[in-house]
């Protein structure tokens, strides 16, 4: 009885607190909503005390399309085109882990050349995604040149995709069992030319954006996410690596041929917005090295895919595979009951996991820091909503 009374008292106090909060004239509720130009397909309601943010209420779900449920009504191959929709410009990576999980379920091995081609597509897509993200990050800090440059250079990589997959953005190139088709004639030289040019451009990005004192002033020491908190909150990808944890799925659980590739896991110890915005840039530099190595080591000829039956039945069981996408660890958990369709597909998206850090970081910061913190989280609302 007394326990219940205590609980009622607590509830009353809490409701009084809420009433007091809403009546407090000092606070201003500001909706950074889906129509606000600074948020993407996402809304968060912030409460302002002067210029300081005292409360953040993230409200995702504006672009929820039920991809997981849709998977249960299509067979393993029909799932491919719809599963790349959540991350359009990172479609190789979002399909990569699905293909790995299906292959693990069925128990087949992809031919060596197919593995290389898939890895190259994955790295190229990481460049495309990161450039897109960098463009958005630039424009939301008011740097219009940083919007135009990556958005323009992105076209070069997209042209490469068009050469070997026939599509520009959603190419649906990785399939269970390998890749759809082999590289066209003379692709290696073309790819190397583009990557070399792109590396030159990356240096220019650094000059105009990352070394800009005004950009440094805005991001250094802003939105600090300490190492312990980053691990506790469960963030992944560039956000985790910016907090000083060298965690990369390509190194931790190497898939396909990544154990043969020599690359560094970039991490920084400053834990601030600058680190979170600089790590994807360093990843792009690293991706260029990886692509060069992959092109060198790739076998000259060979099969690129294992032919699977169109409506193959998955053996009963489950599988879970992760890859390092442009935003962090992206995993698929597939449960099969022996039918030609999966029983359940669960996507673990890095965006949703990084979103958790948003309210943690924004509370106590200034309104002017909001874009630099929010976009540094490498958050892609469409992927988070699935």
């Amino acid at each position: 009885m007394s326990n219940l009374e205590e609980k009622i008292d607590e509830a009353k106090k809490l409701s009084m607190q809420i009433v007091k909060d809403t009546e407090d004239d000092r606070l201003m509720t500001l909706s950074v909503g889906p129509q606000h130009p600074g948020s993407g397909h996402f809304r968060f309601v912030i409460k302002l005390d002067g210029d300081y943010i005292v409360n953040v209420d993230p409200d995702p779900g504006y672009v929820h399309r039920g991809h997981e449920k849709m998977c249960e009504y299509r067979n393993y191959f029909q799932n491919l085109p719809q599963l790349e929709r959540p991350a359009l410009h990172d479609s190789s990576n979002i399909l990569y882990s699905y293909c790995l999980a299906v292959e693990d379920l069925v128990g087949i091995h992809v031919p060596r050349r197919g593995q290389f081609i898939r890895a190259i597509a994955s790295e190229l897509d990481r460049l495309v995604y990161t450039q897109y993200w960098l463009a958005i990050y630039g424009i939301f800090l008011g740097h219009s040149t940083m919007f135009m440059w990556p958005a323009g250079d992105r076209e070069l990589i997209i042209d490469l995709f068009e050469r070997f997959s026939g599509h520009r953005v959603t190419h649906c190139f990785s399939i269970p069992g390998g890749v759809r088709n082999d590289f066209p004639y003379n692709f290696k030289e073309k790819c190397l030319t583009q990557v070399n040019y792109f590396e030159k451009r990356l240096k220019e990005y650094e000059h105009i954006f990352y070394n800009n004192p005004l950009f440094r002033q805005r991001t250094e020491g802003v939105g600090i996410l300490p190492k312990e908190d980053a691990i506790k909150l469960g963030v992944t990808g560039s956000v985790l690596r910016a907090s000083g944890v060298p965690y990369d799925i390509r190194k931790v659980e190497p898939y396909d041929i990544y154990d043969e590739i020599d690359f560094k896991v970039q991490h920084m110890k400053t834990c601030d917005s600058f680190a979170r915005s600089y790590i994807p840039y360093l990843d792009m530099v690293e991706s260029c090295h990886i692509i060069r190595q992959l092109l060198d080591k790739m076998p000259e000829s060979g099969d690129v895919r294992v032919k699977l039956q169109g409506n193959m039945k998955g053996p009963p069981g489950e599988s879970f595979k992760r890859v390092e996408s442009g935003r962090g660890a992206l995993g698929y958990h597939i449960v099969s009951d022996g039918a030609s369709r999966p029983y359940r597909v669960k996507i673990s998206t890095p965006s949703f996991r990084n979103l958790i850090a948003l309210s943690y970081l924004l509370v106590g910061s200034k309104l002017g820091d909001m874009p630099s913190i929010y976009w540094s989280l490498n958050y892609w609302p469409i992927e988070a909503d699935r």
Partner: protein, 433 residues
């Protein structure tokens, strides 16, 4: 687009032009000439060339081309011409239009784009015209709960205050709309109206984002007004006058920027903040507060505010040129007569072509150099938009209230020391005799 239609005939073109000319002539004879006569008989006319202008004299002068020039000269020195056309509103608006075009093209070149390309056949030169027409034809949406009189009045106030600043700017000796003895103070006083207008408009919009933007505009402009005034102080001390014409004339051999580079820099930074241009475009920071105090602007209200801000850009660049870059002084590159020997000859056609009596080599040269210098400063102000991100408000206030004020004082003391040491005088460095 941009090509000749297949059924084009040159003869048709000539025919239509002739038809047009005939129609215009008919309208002039039937309607406009009687109206002019009517007006001229009832309006008291001024004295031109020592003769009282009568309608008969006016028409004889118009018909005889050699006698037209005095009328044009007389009209060019009326106050209305100065305020409305040159060096007033029209001139400033044309410079503002050119600035917008140059800004778009320059930024496009910096950002691997082409910029406006289709409107007008050459490089999208009429894009601004198309944009203006679009803005005029758009509906003006007034938010419910808005303070309507202020909502409608604020854009007009914005443009008129900008035009008032423009009217204080001399583009050549004697070519100024309002030649005030306290011209510099008047300019600063007028600039002090802008935060008020921004705040009024943001309050009248009855919306949260404009309100935050208006407060930011107020903070920013007030923080930068003090270094703005202080940076112009050594110029006044050196030239001994607040009249902008006198300030420019005091620099005919020696530009102020050589002795006060820090102040010129502070003036430039403060102008950027005053103009709300990147990196100081906090009042319009789109990723934070949508469009700041301009969020609820639509249609021509937006157009007017844009026009006002580009007029302001011209006015502040011109002020920089007058205060630090020696105003309109530069090497004489125009000949003293357009056609040598035209004024002494008896051929009237030659006199007309040479614009005898109208053409003044020194004035034309002054206007030329003034425009060139102003465009240089405008370019400098545009370029920051391409290379810088937005600054944060606390850094901005720190810069305005602390760093820039200290910098202005350093330069002020340097100039005072030089003056009292007898090294510097109104004409520049005093050479030992």
């Amino acid at each position: 687009m941009g090509s000749i239609t297949p059924d084009f005939r040159f003869g048709n073109l000539v025919g239509s032009i002739i038809q047009l000319v005939l129609v215009i002539l008919a309208i002039v004879t039937v309607l406009i000439l009687p109206m002019i006569f009517f007006a001229l008989f009832f309006v008291p006319l001024p004295v031109v060339n020592g003769q009282v202008l009568t309608p008969y004299l006016f028409f004889s002068m118009v018909v005889d081309p050699s006698r037209t020039l005095p009328i044009v000269k007389f009209l060019m020195h009326t106050a209305l011409f100065k305020a409305a056309i040159f060096p007033g509103f029209l001139f400033a608006s044309l410079i503002a239009a050119a600035t917008i075009f140059i800004e778009r093209k320059l930024l496009a070149k910096m950002q691997l784009r082409v910029g406006p390309l289709y409107a007008g056949k050459v490089e999208g030169i009429f894009q601004l015209l198309a944009d203006g027409l679009k803005l005029i034809s758009k509906e003006i949406i007034v938010p419910s709960g808005a303070d309507k009189p202020i909502f409608w009045l604020a854009p007009v106030m914005f443009v008129s205050t900008s035009a008032a600043v423009v009217s204080l700017i001399p583009v050549a000796y004697g070519w100024v709309v309002a030649d005030l003895d306290v011209g510099l103070i008047a300019a600063f006083a007028l600039l002090g109206f802008f935060p008020l207008i921004a705040l009024l408009y943001s309050w009248a919009s009855n919306s949260k984002y404009p309100f935050l933007g208006g407060l930011r505009a107020l903070h920013q402009m007030i923080a930068f007004e003090i270094p703005f005034f202080l940076s112009a102080l050594p110029v006044v001390i050196l030239s001994g006058s607040l009249n902008l014409t006198e300030i420019a004339r005091s620099q005919n051999i020696f530009w102020n920027i050589f002795v006060m580079p820090i102040n010129a820099f502070v003036f430039y930074i403060s102008s950027l903040a005053e103009l709300e241009r990147i990196p100081f475009d906090l009042p319009e920071a789109e990723s934070e507060i949508v469009a700041g105090w301009l969020t609820e602007t639509s249609g021509m209200i937006f157009g007017l505010i844009q026009l006002g801000s580009y007029l302001k850009l011209y006015a502040l660049s011109a002020l920089f040129v007058i205060l630090f870059l020696g105003g309109w002084y530069g090497p004489q590159i125009f000949p003293h007569e357009l056609i040598p020997g035209a004024s002494s000859s008896n051929i009237s056609l030659l006199k007309i072509i040479a614009l005898d009596g109208l053409y003044n080599a020194v004035t034309v040269n002054s206007i030329f150099w003034f425009t060139i210098k102003t465009f240089g400063i405008i370019l400098l102000m545009l370029i920051t938009r391409g290379v810088n991100p937005r600054i944060r408000i606390d850094i901005l206030l720190h810069t305005g209230w602390y760093k820039l004020i200290v910098l202005t004082f350093i330069n002020l003391f340097v100039v005072l020391t030089l003056i009292y040491g007898g090294i510097l005088g109104p004409g520049g460095i005093i050479l030992p005799k």
